[in-house]
């Protein structure tokens, strides 16, 4: 394509470069360009949040951003939550509290949860419900997602205080 441009984005700690058409949506670049299919697409209208990723730590809907806009920036997708083979506390939380059923919204929800816990390590039910209200889940009724995020918060806290002790 004549109209292609080169971008370079740090994805889950690794720099990834490729040629893209400017119109390529970030979510398509992640899924088709990099094969990172944990980021999903659930709607056409920026409503569902299944495509949520962290852009320099901040949750954004990757269906409503062009890949070129992320040039030079850092992204975290669900595939980047796990560190050195160890699940992130939020991933454990979702498992422990049955925070997922079909799993389609789960990557986005977990990234929202992880971002929330950075700001607010001990969120109330209301805090979590508010923080995840840009994303939709059709299976769980959200209650166990709330518990999953709170579980992760407690786990992070206890690891932190354990490390200090």
């Amino acid at each position: 394509m004549a109209n292609e441009t080169t971008i370079s984005i740090t994805v889950n700690g690794r720099e990834r470069s490729s040629e893209v058409e400017p119109r390529m949506l970030l979510v398509h670049w992640l899924r088709e360009g990099l094969g990172l299919t944990g980021t999903h697409i659930g709607c056409d209208t920026t409503s569902c949040g299944a495509c949520t990723v962290l852009l320099d730590g901040t949750p954004v809907k990757s269906c409503t951003m062009f890949a070129v806009q992320a040039d030079g920036r850092a992204l975290t997708t669900v595939e980047g939550l796990q560190q050195n083979g160890k699940l992130h506390a939020i991933q454990e939380g979702f498992k422990e509290e049955h925070g997922l059923q079909c799993g389609f919204c789960t990557p986005g929800m977990m990234l929202l949860g992880a971002a929330l816990l950075e700001d607010n390590p001990n969120p109330s039910e209301k805090d979590v419900r508010w923080a995840i209200s840009g994303n939709l889940c059709r299976c769980t009724g959200y209650q166990n997602i709330v518990k999953a995020v709170q579980y992760a918060g407690q786990k992070i806290e206890s690891e932190r205080s354990g490390a200090q002790a």
Binding site: N3, T5, E21, P22, R23, L25, D44, T45, T46, S47, G49, T52, T58, P59, V60, K61, C63, T64, M65, F66, V68, Q69, D71, L112, W130, A131, S133, G134, N135
Partner: protein, 288 residues
């Protein structure tokens, strides 16, 4: 959902951006938060030939008071407004509106200035800015001008912004030493556009309302400034009769349409109820 092709520019200075608009203006769109523009492009309701992405221009994300008025730069996100202590302490109408706009994730990208330029009749920021008497600073390669929000909005999704202009800033006058403000929004769920929105800003002088700003969302072809209601409040004390009268005048100013969100009568009544609630809240706050 796959947008049409376009040529992409990411200038790093406002001058470069303005030069690009000078060249491509009619066929170009400025991309800030992208949370209104990109959805339209995905649906192919919008298909600009050129995109001028201003996100790489340094220094457009200021949110500060200068010479007694508030300046909100073109890259200030709604989430910045939501978290700002300055906004929380001095601009309660904005503080009330910010968390009600779209959803928490969209707010991380969507900008205040972009929302104003999008001119969606269901847009919340325009009502807040109308109520507060804000102006938009518009720059072109040849100069700069200020447009009152009321003069900016030219109809649904239409503004008086010239194709070669970039809106760089909202300029909000001093709310006054003693002020009250709020934004009430009837929405069906988080992320919904307003079924009805009411912005109220009052500059107070003791018991009296010195100056009132009331603006309505989603009940007309554009955001509506409820001028007669404002006039009825100016200089008045917020007693029940005044509140009733202002609320009724605001409801009369609304020109809603019947749809799945409710009948025109219902929406007009919501305007009345919301204005009443806002003013009663002001009266109670003042009494306290």
């Amino acid at each position: 959902m796959f947008p049409r092709s376009f040529e992409y520019f990411a200038p790093t200075s406002i001058e470069d951006a303005l030069a690009l608009l000078a060249e491509h203006g009619e066929d170009a769109k400025v991309l800030a938060g992208g949370q209104s523009l990109i959805p339209l492009m995905k649906l192919r309701f919008a298909a600009p030939d050129y995109i001028v992405d201003i996100n790489r221009i340094q220094g457009l994300d200021y949110l500060e008071e200068q010479d007694g008025s508030l300046r909100i730069g073109a890259l200030v996100r709604t989430s910045d407004m939501e978290r700002s202590e300055l906004i929380a302490s001095r601009y309660p109408a904005m503080a009330a509106a910010a968390p009600l706009i779209s959803d928490p994730v969209v707010r991380n990208l969507g900008t205040v200035v972009g929302s104003l330029c999008h001119a969606d009749p269901q847009g919340d920021w325009a009502s807040v800015m109308l109520a507060m008497g804000a102006e938009l600073v518009c720059r072109s390669a040849t100069g700069e001008r200020r447009v009152a929000i009321g003069d900016l909005i030219d109809g649904p999704f239409t503004t008086t912004l010239e194709p070669n202009e970039i809106a760089t800033e909202v300029h909000v006058p001093d709310p006054g030493a003693h002020s009250f403000g709020t934004y009430l929004k009837l929405e069906r769920k988080v992320g919904d556009f307003a079924s009805v929105g009411v912005a109220v800003h009052l500059a107070l002088d003791g018991d009296r309302v010195e100056r009132a700003g009331i603006a309505l969302t989603a009940v007309g072809a554009g955001n509506i400034k409820a001028k007669e209601a404002e006039d009825a409040l100016a200089g008045a004390v917020l007693d029940d009769a005044t509140i009733d009268r202002a609320a009724s005048l605001a409801a009369e100013a609304a020109d809603p349409k019947t749809d799945l969100r409710g009948s025109a009568d219902y929406k007009r009544e919501i305007v009345r109820v919301f204005v009443t609630r806002a003013l009663s809240q002001a009266a109670t706050a003042k009494a306290a």
